[in-house]
Amino acid sequence: MTTNLVGLTREVYKGLPTTLCAGCGHNSITNHLIKALYEYGVEPHKLAKMSGIGCSSKTPAYFVEQAHGFNGLHGRMPSAATGAKLANRELLVLGISGDGDTASIGLGQYCHMIRRNLDCTYIVENNGCYGLTKGQFSATADVGSTQKGGKVNEYATIDICGLAIELGATFVARSFSGDGKQLVPLLQAAFSHRGTAILDVISPCVTFNDHAGSTKSYAYVKDHDVVLHTADYIAGGREITVEYEPGTVRDVELEDGSHVLLRKLTADYDPTDGIGALRTIHESRARGEFVTGLLFVDTKERDLCERERLTRTPLAQLDEEALRIGRDDWERLMSSP
């Protein structure tokens, strides 16, 4: 039987059957995640699956059943993920959120997670609407896009990627649930990145937002997806065997020695230029398009655990000896607190 780097079969990376609608983009993302986690060789006991509330937030039940999952509160997953990572910095923290969970009720926590550069992979399964409550607009709906019943959105869209870059995010990518070829290596690069890795994945809602007038329908996304580059993920220590024509590839080395190779399709794109990334995002939105690929990456910034100078031992494992003030110090303290 075929196994991965840690000796596990692909079966281990599967979860319970999905309870989402047939054809939901989120299910595709789940499948891409299973592939990415399997190929990456994540040990299930080291994976912490975190989510908030909404359709997207149900998906952690549908992959790596052996792993611990935390289906928290609406918009409040980033704080719980922060606590989990601080408690045990050895965990690979994988957060799954949606556009309502992130850009509406959870916008504050989203911003502050980025600001702290919490080491986690944070996926927004973005469909521009609220599915569980039957199709209301979310804050990522584009101006002028319509609900199924014809209601037009007149309010400015919140661009999850643009906002993240503005806030100093250290890894920002956008992709499409239907493009596993691009998404899987981006996910693996995100696992390797030390810091907050934002993946805004456009993921059509087949039930409430897949009609003409929607800018997050399958048809619209396929027509307006401008793929900046394809990506290949090369694990640390592996030889780069893929051959490219010189000058067609950008090689981004990540903190753990792995590489993500970005093969340009049209114009060259520099993912280390934040201002350029913001310009690209704004310009594509003005054209009614959305760009996909690794929009921005910064591998120099320290993550939360490093800034806090946390000990290597997970805090959860420290005992009385490590944590209590010694008896002599205590006596001194009590004589002069």
Binding site: H68, G72, M77, A80, A87, E308, A316, L323, R324, M334
Partner: protein, 607 residues
């Protein structure tokens, strides 16, 4: 009764916020304590950085009463804005040390008071003209010298107190001492003592006592209780709890060689996030806490409910202030008891600890982490501004005598020897299930934690019987906690058929009120409740009495309400409610007066 005037009175110092009066107030307080006389300082301060009035009461009590005294006998008036109001409040026969330029006429010229005018501003200008901004601080030190002369506090004791306060800063000691001498000399030259108030050294009452605020003690409890993750949003009056925790962690949780820390402290964006970090960390296996006040727990309601239902440990300190809403941020109240107990929607019931003393602030903080782990649930520690921010004389805090209780956690080895396990199975029939931590290397370790309906195996379920069975198990768990939380403290003699029931800082007023009432011929038994859920002892205590006065510092009688809900119906009629809620700490007369009225009413009717 000349003894009444010695070592048994209250000094009120009225100053302007931000004028540095705190240093002088502490020098005075510590000096009196150094004479072996019990003192209880209470800082009544505004929600303001600079300019509004602030008062500092030093209660000098040979009997050791630590509650606020309702009235004061000696006034030090340094605030022109409150001068008229301050003079009105002095008890007849009192003494007033005041800035000379304050007008003494009409209402401010009372025949029943002794006045001592001191040109504080002029003296400060004369002696410290070159000290710039320091001058206003030094002006406050001048009052200490004048008061020392009046109250007969030896200058050597004042100097010891000053040295202890400024530690090794020799220049600061010298400068402040100079200011104190200015006050002393002025008083020696100009005052002839006409009032009876003075202090006389004592022994045997304060040996081994130190001064400490409840927030500092709670912070030490967090260190010794093994807290490794703290998340907070600054809010009065709880900020100093986390700040002390930070301070002690800087000292004791940092590896001197590597600089690595055994703690993570996050100043969160709001209390929603602070609570999220706590319960995320609790789920991850760390001992985690947040400290806040009423407005903060309003925001934390959502994760408190999650923690209760998904069964995740976490400790929340609520240093209560006066509410509702923003209320009075710098005033005290026992206003969150009912809210914290059932915080969050649906059927939710939490463990709530109710410390009354500095020592309990420390011990309950430590114990909160044990209870949170043992019961896998949020634990609230309800302190208040009076306990948290005032300095109290307390015995030194004892070194912990037991290891952490991490509760029912299954490690990989445990799982290897088990056929199966279920996250929410009630194996031990105490309502407390077993849990595993993320990172446990066993294929069966993982489970899905959720705030939605779930069965014993942590699977999503909407089945009516599964839902109800889970809620019933949570009730069982809550009932198990009744005898695991700190038990009530009972002072009871056979005979008295009436009693007082109180909790938290109300205790200190009860102590004085019981003595007073005993002298007045009414002897009362006393139960101090120290936690929710209620111990079974509460019902038996009420059963043994005809009337039980429930005393607390809130308008609605919050514990009284909980008792009426939870006690057997036939006992409810025995409960009476006494409430104090003006924002300042409760004093003995807030208990004595209504209780006397109630107890003596039938006699009046009989006549």
């Amino acid at each position: 009764m000349p003894a009444r005037f010695v070592n048994d009175f209250t000094v009120r110092v009225a100053t302007v916020n931000g004028s540095g009066s705190q240093s002088s107030n502490l020098v005075l307080t510590n000096a009196i304590a150094r004479l072996g006389i019990p003192v209880a300082p209470k800082n009544v301060f505004p929600s303001n950085i600079e300019g509004l009035p602030t008062w500092f009461d030093v209660r000098i009590s040979a009997l050791g009463y630590q509650c606020r005294a309702r009235d004061f006998d000696v006034l030090v008036a340094l605030n022109a804005a409150t001068w008229a109001q301050d003079v009105t409040g002095v008890k007849p026969g009192g003494a007033v040390v005041h800035e000379e330029s304050f007008p003494c006429k009409g209402d401010t010229l009372r025949e029943d008071l002794v006045y001592y005018a001191v040109p504080f501003a002029a003296l400060a200008k004369e002696h410290f003209a070159d000290k710039g901004d320091l001058r206003k601080y030094l002006m406050n030190m001048i009052y200490v010298g004048a008061l020392a002369q009046l109250l007969e506090i030896p200058m050597s004791t004042i100097e010891e107190s000053l040295r202890a306060q400024f530690r090794s800063k020799a220049a600061a000691v010298e400068l402040n001492m100079a200011a104190i001498r200015v006050g002393l000399e002025y008083a020696q030259e100009h005052f002839e003592k006409h009032d009876p108030w003075r202090v006389v050294p004592m022994s045997g009452k304060t040996d081994g006592l130190i001064f400490m605020e409840g927030n500092r003690a709670a912070a030490l409890g967090c260190v010794m209780g093994g807290c490794t993750v703290a998340a907070w949003y600054p809010i009065t009056p709880s900020s100093s709890l986390c700040e002390y925790f930070i301070q002690y962690c800087e000292r004791y949780r940092v590896n001197r060689e590597s600089g690595e820390r055994n703690v993570a402290i996050v100043q969160a964006e709001d209390e929603l996030a602070a609570a999220g970090i706590v319960f995320g960390a609790g789920w991850g296996g760390a001992r985690a806490m947040t400290s806040t006040s009423g407005p903060g727990i309003s925001l934390m309601a959502e994760y408190a409910g999650y923690g209760y239902f998904a069964e995740v440990p976490g400790v929340i300190f609520d240093v209560q202030r006066a509410g509702p809403s923003t209320g009075l941020p710098t005033r005290t109240m026992q206003g969150d008891v009912a809210f914290a107990y059932t915080l969050s929607h649906g059927d939710t019931k939490h463990i709530v600890l109710l410390p009354a003393t500095v020592r309990e602030a420390y011990e309950f903080a430590m114990e909160a982490f044990n209870l949170a782990d043992r019961f896998q649930t949020p634990v609230f520690v309800l302190s208040d501004l009076d306990l948290g921010m005032n300095s109290w004389q307390t015995p030194a805090l004892p070194y912990p005598d037991k290891p952490f209780d991490r509760g029912k956690v299954l490690a990989a080895d445990d799982l290897a020897s088990m056929k199966s396990w279920g996250r929410y199975r009630d194996v031990d029939k105490d309502g407390i299930p077993y849990r595993t931590l993320p990172g446990t290397k066993h294929p069966g370790a993982g489970f899905f934690t959720r705030g939605t309906g779930h069965d014993e195996e942590a699977r999503y379920s909407e089945m009516p019987e599964v839902w109800q069975r889970n809620l019933d198990r949570l009730t069982r768990k809550h009932d198990t906690a009744r005898t695991a939380v700190p038990a009530p403290v009972v002072e009871e003699r056979k005979g008295p058929k009436i009693a007082i029931l109180a909790y938290g800082t109300t205790h200190h007023a009860v102590v004085e009120a019981r003595d007073f009432l005993k002298d007045a011929g009414i002897e009362l038994n006393y139960m101090r409740v120290r936690a929710l859920p209620l111990s079974p002892e509460v019902a038996t205590f009420v059963q043994r009495h005809d009337r039980v006065y429930v005393v607390e510092q809130n308008r609605d009688g919050q514990l009284y309400g909980i008792l009426r809900t939870e006690l057997p119906t036939h006992l409810i009629g025995r409960l009476e409610s006494i409430r104090h809620y003006n924002g300042v700490p409760i004093d003995a007369h807030a208990i004595i007066d209504p209780l006397l009225e109630e107890e003596r009413a039938p006699a009046v009717v009989a006549e």
